[in-house]
Symmetry: C2
Subunit: 156 residues, 2 copies
């Protein structure tokens, strides 16, 4: 099958970009943590909601969207499902009839340890073979790169 130079298929230059490598790492990482979360009946993305609520329970819907860096309709749907699973509870905000506040149920609070453990295992797998110094370097670079992508994310 020696066509006119056909079949060589050298890898495309775009594949050597850092941007490309990052995209692939992202996808793989989401899959990796999703696999662990599935053990607790969670889908990737939902763990982020939990972290925000462990940190400050009773958030308003909109504030949750801001902290997650996600659009309001996404929050609406995720909360509906998490509520359906009994992980979260939505109560009206007494001071604003348009708003509501999100609270963890006991079930939601019980997920803190196992899910934190997922992160730990996920990180273990992610950083395997890297020295302590390399890990610190990697973390530092991620933080800087993140602040490039999410302007003004210093606090969150």
């Amino acid at each position: 099958m020696g066509g006119a130079g056909n079949g060589v298929a050298r890898t495309h230059p775009v594949k050597r970009r850092t941007s490309f490598a990052l995209a692939k790492v992202c996808k793989a990482h989401r899959g990796s943590i999703g696999e662990l979360l599935a053990e607790h009946g969670l889908h990737p993305g939902q763990e982020m909601v939990l972290v925000e609520l462990w940190e400050s329970d009773g958030l308003r819907g909109g504030e949750l969207a801001v902290r997650l860096g996600v659009e309001p309709p996404t929050v609406t749907k995720m909360l509906r499902r998490l509520e359906g699973c009994g992980i979260v509870e939505r109560r009206p905000d007494p001071s604003d009839a348009r708003s509501f506040r999100v609270y963890l149920t006991p079930e939601g609070r019980a997920l803190e340890e196992p899910v934190a453990d997922c992160w730990e295992r996920s990180e273990e797998r992610l950083l395997a073979g890297l020295s302590e110094e390399e890990r610190r370097t990697f973390y530092g670079l991620l933080v800087r790169v993140r602040s490039n992508l999410v302007p003004g994310c210093g606090s969150r």
Copy 2:
């Protein structure tokens, strides 16, 4: 409102994990490149199909799934849409009646330059403020980390 230690809301330990930072970078990065791709009517994820086809046109559906690191049903749907947009064409594989081969249309081939440009701009934004050495280090770490997550991804 000084309840029993309530309202402090220190950031949750999980948020200091490299794994967490990576997840956030991922999300932001996908959004960043998605924004650029939208200028050409593409959705994030579709650019990956294009890269594979620029590299080797006429791939079988299953092989495409493997290279993208994605499940077959995902390929089915993406290709249906890309075909609907006239970017890609599916032709039956003469040697196997269950299979098909995917070919870029002229429109699909015409996207190579503009989309490669999206990647370049995306990378620019991503790596702003990093020295050449830091960029190399970051790239190297990404590649290593990726091989932790996707065992045997040396070639792709």
